[in-house]
């Protein structure tokens, strides 16, 4: 209604300074909201990216969450007699029929998967020994799901495919054993068999334990060494969108029966911590807007009190109570819209400035910039909250304006 808007604007401009103060409250509230939110969410995203990038999005284990029921229990669910001491059949550990399951997993959209057989082994070289975690992998698939290929300093993962007796080891082991590319070392499997393998690649991740205790061989080789033919015990999965992990893991688990753990599940504690942190942060920054709302309440209340005669004459003239309410709600809305708009602009400037801030964490040579998140959701949140505060702040004065009885005012004035 144009008339209401005209009157609302006239009221606000009639008290310029007070309106400006309320407006500044909202502007600063929204801007700080955005600055703090962008930093907190930015650091959260930064942290999660590290978490997500350095670990598989989903790992399918050769375990089941719930043992399969015994056939007898399925056949006679309400049987009067129960057989005790029934054990599941003994079988070679590992994911059975993994190639079909892998096909199923790879058919899911946005999924890259690599089968792995991991087991313990001991590497010996010139009388020295090192227990390692030996992972049998398919190089071309492994490259797609881990960052190991980027960490190669000599040779490559692909060299494994060319040389079935090849092994890829970490820099830590190389230093310890004084190895070179193409050195031959012996691997001692759990069942006592020993086999010479040639170093075809060296990686360095920077994680000392990993660089010393991890080795890669071809999947077939690992299966033979660990005595688990045609088995894998893990499928490592990377997703196009890491945040689909929970759903995809559920799909996989439902279809294959094997325990599929998404990174979300694996880092539940950290994620809930981040959530709590966000709740605290948003409560604090929202508090600024609540304080700003008091300023608006104060301004609009003053206007209502000051304009009681105008309200009375407008009611007499033929404005409904709800028209008057609308006028004052509109005043809150105008402050809200202007405040949100200017606040978002100021917030963007603040975020830009924060993004430029360079910090040098102790012991790190690289200069790190503050992580600033530019996500749309925080603007929506800030604007929604600002608008709600403004409307809430103008609601009470608006109600009071609507309740003005013209006769009371006219009688007093006459």
């Amino acid at each position: 209604m144009a008339v209401a808007l005209d009157v609302a604007l006239a009221h606000l401009t009639s008290r310029k300074r007070q309106t400006l103060v309320s407006l500044t409250g909202v502007v600063l509230g929204v801007a700080f909201f955005l600055a703090v939110s962008s930093l907190m969410r930015g650091s959260e995203k930064d942290f999660l990216k590290r978490l997500v990038d350095n670990s598989p999005h989903i790992t399918v284990y050769d375990e089941v969450r719930q043992g399969r029921p015994q056939p007898a229990e399925l056949r006679w669910p309400d049987a009067a007699v129960s057989v005790r001491n029934v054990k599941p059949p003994r079988e070679t550990r590992g994911i059975r029929g993994w190639s079909q399951r892998l096909e199923f997993i790879e058919a899911l959209p946005g999924v890259r998967a690599a089968p792995v057989l991991t087991g313990g082994a001991v590497l010996t070289f010139a009388g020295r020994q090192q227990a390692v975690s030996l992972s049998g992998a398919l190089p071309e698939k492994m490259k797609q799901v881990t960052t190991i290929e980027e960490k190669m300093i000599e040779g490559s993962l692909d060299a494994l495919a060319a040389d079935p007796n090849g092994i890829v080891v970490g820099q830590g082991l190389v230093d310890k054993f004084s190895l070179h590319l193409r050195s031959t070392l012996n691997v001692l499997a759990a069942d006592g068999t020993s086999r010479p393998l040639r170093v075809v690649g060296i990686f360095r991740t920077g994680n000392a334990a990993y660089d010393e205790g991890q080795a890669f061989v071809l999947l077939k080789r690992a299966q033979a060494l660990l005595g688990r033919e045609d088995r894998v015990n893990r499928v490592i999965i990377q997703l196009a969108d890491p945040y689909d992990a929970r759903d995809v893991a559920q799909t996989i688990e439902a279809a294959t029966g094997y325990k599929s753990v998404s990174w979300v599940e694996a880092s539940e504690d950290i994620l809930s911590l981040l959530l709590v942190r966000n709740v605290i942060m948003y409560s604090v920054v929202s508090a600024i807007l609540v304080v700003a709302a008091f300023g608006i309440y104060n301004t609009i209340s003053t206007i209502v009190m000051e304009k009681t005669r105008d309200i009375a004459i407008m009611r007499a003239m033929g404005f409904h109570a709800r028209d008057l309410e609308r006028i004052f709600l509109l005043e809150g809305l105008i402050v809200g819209v202007l405040g949100s708009g200017l606040g978002v602009l100021l917030g963007l400037v603040l975020m830009q400035v924060l993004g430029q801030v360079a910090i040098r964490p102790p012991g790190v040579s690289e200069v790190v910039h503050l992580p600033v998140w530019w996500g749309a959701e925080q603007y929506a949140l800030a604007i929604t909250f600002a608008m709600l505060s403004c409307l809430a702040a103008s609601y009470l004065p608006a109600r009071r304006a609507g309740a003005v009885h013209p006769v009371d005012i006219l009688r007093g004035a006459a």
Binding site: V3, I313, A316, M317, G318, V407, L410, A413
Partner: protein, 236 residues
């Protein structure tokens, strides 16, 4: 006094109207009042301070509702109207002029006058402004349209208030001490304008006043004492 075609119903018909303010000691403002006002009449309601004449005007103007009794306006019984209907009725058919002009200080004169027209919403905003300008011109306020009320003299402001009361072409103009705050020249001017409205535009004007000079121009005077009609009451 009766200059109407006998066939048409009275514009205002008040029947045994009483208005009592509830409270520990109820106060009766208007006591069992009945009268009729014909179309085109210029009526003055007179009486001492606190006699209930303003209260009666608020009842006629549908700003207040009687505790008992009925009020017909333009042949319509307004008894039982809810606030929305009363408000719509006021907007379309009644106009007010008060002792204090009550113009909105932030709006120009022409915007003040066009406000009720825009609220009624029967014409576009441009047309509303045009009509407002016309009314102002008719009341001798040429060239003052874009001024703020504070830039006008008391008499001019009251003329703006009259223009605003006329904005939606109402049947009845209700005036509460319209000259109470004016010097004698301005008072005479306002009085003549109000009288003119009844003569030229066939509007009905009901004015509450103390001003004997003003009252002589009226077609009829209704005396109110202690909330009752007192035919014998004479000013001064």
């Amino acid at each position: 006094m009766s200059r109407t075609e006998s066939a048409s119903p009275p514009v205002i018909r008040v029947e045994q109207v009483t208005r009592t303010l509830a409270g520990e000691v109820p106060v009766t403002l208007v006591h069992d009042v009945s009268f009729e006002i014909e179309r085109g009449e210029f009526v003055c309601v007179m009486g001492p301070s606190g006699s209930g004449k303003s209260s009666l005007l608020y009842l006629l103007g549908l700003l207040d509702v009687p505790t008992r009794g009925r009020i017909w306006i333009d042949g319509e019984d307004t008894t039982g109207f809810d606030d929305d209907r009363l408000t719509d009725f006021r907007l379309a058919r009644l106009g007010y002029v008060f002792q204090f002009h009550f113009l909105l200080a932030e709006f120009s004169v022409v915007d003040n006058v066009s406000l009720p027209i825009r609220k009624l919403g029967r014409v576009a905003d441009d047309a509303a402004r045009q009509r407002a300008a016309q009314l102002l011109d008719q009341l001798g306020l040429e060239g003052q349209h874009d001024k703020r009320p504070s830039q006008l003299s008391g008499g001019q402001r009251q003329r703006v208030a009259i223009a605003r009361a006329l904005a939606n072409d109402p049947l009845v103009i209700l005036a509460d001490e319209p000259t109470g705050n004016l010097d004698s020249a301005s008072s005479a001017n306002v009085r003549d304008i109000l009288r003119g409205l009844t003569r030229e535009l066939n509007k009905t004007v009901v004015a509450v006043t103390h001003d004997a000079q003003f009252a002589v121009a009226a077609d009829r005077r209704i005396g109110i004492v202690d909330g009752r009609i007192d035919l014998a009451w004479k000013p001064g």
